[in-house]
């Protein structure tokens, strides 16, 4: 087991016991994300990719196996503030302004938001929301809310960054723009990133490694390396080698 700043899951099993039927959400799942790498988890609904991420965040228990986040068990890692997270839905508190929503993790970790006002302002600027510091979530568009959520995930200067379909609610055009921005933000932060996604092109554009999962039971079937140079530009979306890689991922996804 590695004890570096990356994400490591070793032979993790998780079964949901319901009335009548048990669902094997994860069977013998292993995953290694090297420090500073960007990994994408892709798979159909119900393949356990979100479960894997929730386990890594300490939001759910697992039956057997071992999990190390930046060298710690999940609960210890999150409580120490080394992780950052952005969910599929922005999940902003509707009564807090943009700046106070970004500051939420600091409050949970018992740090003083006032001492970090400079970082908060810088992050809001980084995600392109300068001038909206005191706006309420209800006054923002879906894309803007998602950016607030990204800024919030970075406020603790996390060594490990988790994202669960952060742009799932956006349209294709908006999503591609956000992907370019996310790459920039992530490169500046230098953190280890794990992205859970449905989008093949999103995974291929952002990740160093694409981990393909299948359902029933949830398991990893193949890990595909993405060879493109960084920073990747939006022109990459039209490149033939990009499409070839996407086709390869799709084939693995569909089990061909």
């Amino acid at each position: 087991m590695h004890h570096d700043q990356g994400i490591h899951l070793r032979s993790v099993c998780k079964t949901y016991r319901g009335r009548g039927a048990d669902v094997e959400a994860l069977r013998d799942m292993s995953l290694d994300c090297a420090p500073g790498s960007f990994t994408a988890l892709i798979g159909p609904s119900g393949c356990g990719k979100s479960t894997a991420m929730r386990i890594a965040l300490g939001l759910e228990d697992y039956d057997t196996g071992e999990v190390r986040i930046a060298g710690h068990p999940p609960a210890a890692a999150t409580a120490a503030g080394v992780t950052g997270v952005a969910f599929q839905d922005a999940a902003l508190l509707p009564w807090r302004t943009v700046a106070r929503n970004v500051a939420l993790p600091l409050e949970v970790l018992g740090r003083d938001p006032a001492k970090h006002s400079h970082e908060i302002a810088k992050l809001i600027e980084l995600v392109g929301l300068k001038g909206y510091e005191n706006a309420l979530p209800g006054q923002l568009s879906g894309g803007m809310r998602q950016r607030v959520s990204i800024a919030r995930s970075l406020i603790t200067e996390p060594e490990v960054l988790f994202m669960d379909e952060p742009f799932g609610a956006l349209d294709q055009i908006r999503r591609r723009q956000m992907n370019v921005e996310l790459q920039r933000i992530w490169m500046e932060s230098g953190s280890t990133a794990l992205l859970v996604t449905h989008g093949i092109d999103e995974a291929a554009f952002l990740a160093d490694y694409v981990v393909v999962m299948h359902a029933n039971p949830g398991r990893v079937v193949e890990i595909i390396e993405v060879p493109f140079e960084r920073p990747r530009r939006s022109a990459l979306y039209s490149a033939p080698e990009f499409h070839a890689l996407c086709d390869r991922i799709a084939k693995v996804l569909h089990g061909e």
Binding site: G58, L104, P105
Partner: protein, 525 residues
């Protein structure tokens, strides 16, 4: 000013103006019950003549209501938070909570006066009036939090109390505020009722009681209007505050996450039975503890055992039982008939609402105003108009059940999506078919909820009428026992009326659960 101009031209305003003019004419002509309904002008003139009396009385009532409101809500919100953090506590206190909800305030006003002194009975009754409403609003508000936002807090290692602090408490504010809105008039009603049963010099209830014998309709109406105005204003204050905060508190997107399944059924049977038994016994234990804590002598304050002794074991028990049964035989039938009539009328009017939308639109504001009118102020006015016979009891029961049931039913039917209502029409269904297939089934859960909610009000209405006007039944027995210093009977009537109210509540809940489960519907809280 566009809004104001719009209001002046609106149908509501026109109807209101017509109502006031008709009222004035009818009043001036003494057409109703030989002048029992004075014109608004006459009432206002009387009010002006009495202006020296009002400030003292209003101050006393407002003082007790506000204190009771603050204390009751503080307890209610704290209890709500505890119940959400420790659900077993909620199950354990269910009997107590339902008892507080269902108790007819007029029945326990005399026992509060016996055990507490000074302003305390008024404050306690006002606090009891707000407790249940605010407590349940708090529990509902804290339970329906955004699970995604809670995930964010937990993902940074936040524990349950951190989720409570950052997500749930603030998220519950709109619910708590709408609870306070309903609770505020209750506090006023509670204070006035305690003044009724408790002597003392000041307070609108005292003033009302003192003016009852003078046979001056204009003054009684004046007091009734002032009491309604105070209750209405308190409602309005919280309505405005909650309208201001609501906009920024609603979640921007819809949470599609599935709620966790309740694992309550997984507990061992013995434990569940223990909790149920505890819940049933707790109110009686609290009653006993309350008496021991106040230190009132046994002769005046009866414990649960004292009441049993009075009813079954002492020498005069058979007399007491005979009196009690005679009173119940008078009170219960009239309550049942009034409730059935009120609920039936409300049901018919609500399901036909789609056929007369204009009428409903005019009628709704009036129905809402009656919700804030303190029942006790209304009763003497109805007595003036209807006399002291059985009909006044019946009308009071009908009116206290009809209005809340109507409001609840109309709101329930309004929640049916338009497309569901349109579907039968699209297949050429008649209005009757549409009613039968959509509106009536849709209104059913709300009819049950309305029945549950109005049982205590109906019993309260009947007892007030009996106390003030007809001189029959439980209300009269309570009033007489006060005069005879028959302490055992005072406690007995209080205990029996609370137990009856709770028993009715559970009986309806039982039928409701069975019926709705068979129909695949959810109960309405």
């Amino acid at each position: 000013m566009a809004n104001r101009a719009g209001f002046l031209r609106s149908a509501t305003f026109r109807n209101l103006a017509i109502l006031i003019v008709v009222w004035e004419i009818v009043g001036r002509m003494n057409w109703i019950a030989g002048g029992a309904l004075p014109g608004l002008g006459e009432i206002l003139i009387r009010l002006w003549a009495d202006r020296g009396d009002y400030p003292g009385h209003i101050w006393a009532t407002v003082h007790a209501s506000v204190l009771g409101f603050v204390i009751g809500n503080f307890v209610a919100v704290s209890a709500g938070i505890l119940f959400v953090l420790f659900p077993t506590l909620l199950r354990l206190t269910r009997g107590f909570n339902i008892a507080v909800f269902a108790l007819p305030p007029i029945a326990i006003a005399p026992i509060l006066v016996l055990t507490l002194s000074g302003m305390a009975p008024r404050i306690t009754l006002a606090a009891l009036g707000v407790y249940f409403v605010t407590m349940s609003a708090t529990v509902v508000g804290l339970s329906q939090f955004d699970s995604r936002a809670a995930d964010v807090v937990r993902a940074y290692g936040g524990k349950d109390w951190m989720v409570m602090k950052l997500v749930r408490l603030r998220g519950a504010v709109p619910d708590i505020l709408s609870g306070l809105r309903i609770a505020a008039p209750n506090a006023v009603l509670g204070a006035i009722l305690a003044e009724f049963g408790g002597g003392g010099r000041w307070g609108l209830g005292t003033y009302l009681l003192g003016s009852l014998g003078r046979g001056d309709p204009a003054r009684l109406w004046g007091i009734g209007l002032v009491a309604t105005l105070i209750a209405g204003l308190s409602y309005l204050v919280f309505a405005i505050i909650s309208a201001r905060t609501l906009g920024s508190s609603r979640s921007v997107t819809l949470n599609t996450a599935l709620p966790d399944a309740d694992d309550g059924a997984a507990r061992p049977l013995a434990l569940r039975l223990a909790v149920i038994a505890g819940a049933a016994l707790l109110p009686f234990f609290l009653w006993w503890a309350f008496i021991k804590a106040t230190g009132v002598p046994d002769l005046i304050a009866k414990t649960p055992l004292g009441v049993l002794d009075y009813l079954f074991l002492s020498d005069t028990s058979h007399v007491a039982r005979a009196k009690l049964f005679a009173a119940l035989a008078q009170t219960l039938p009239i309550t049942a008939v009034g409730m059935v009539a009120g609920l039936g009328f409300a049901f018919l009017l609500a399901i036909s609402a789609r056929m007369f939308p204009g009428f409903i639109k005019t009628f709704m504001p009036i129905a809402l105003v009656t919700q804030t009118m303190p029942l006790v102020a209304l009763t003497p006015l109805l007595v003036l108009i209807l006399g002291r016979g059985t009909s006044v009891t019946l009308w009071i029961t009908i009116s206290v059940t009809f209005f809340p049931a109507f409001v609840l039913l109309v709101q329930g039917i309004q929640r049916v999506p338009q497309s569901v209502l349109d579907l039968p029409r699209a297949y050429g269904a008649s209005a009757w078919t549409e009613l039968r297939m959509v509106s009536i089934p849709a209104a059913l859960p709300y009819l049950f909820a309305a029945t549950r909610l109005t049982v205590p009000r109906a019993l309260l209405g009947v007892m007030i009428a009996e106390w003030l006007a007809t001189g029959t039944g439980l209300g009269n027995l309570l009033n007489q026992s006060r005069g005879y210093l028959d302490y055992g009977m005072i406690w007995t009537v209080a205990a029996v009326s609370v137990c009856l109210s709770v028993a009715f509540y559970y009986a309806i809940l039982f039928i409701e659960r069975r019926t709705l489960t068979r129909l695949g519907m959810q109960t309405v809280e």
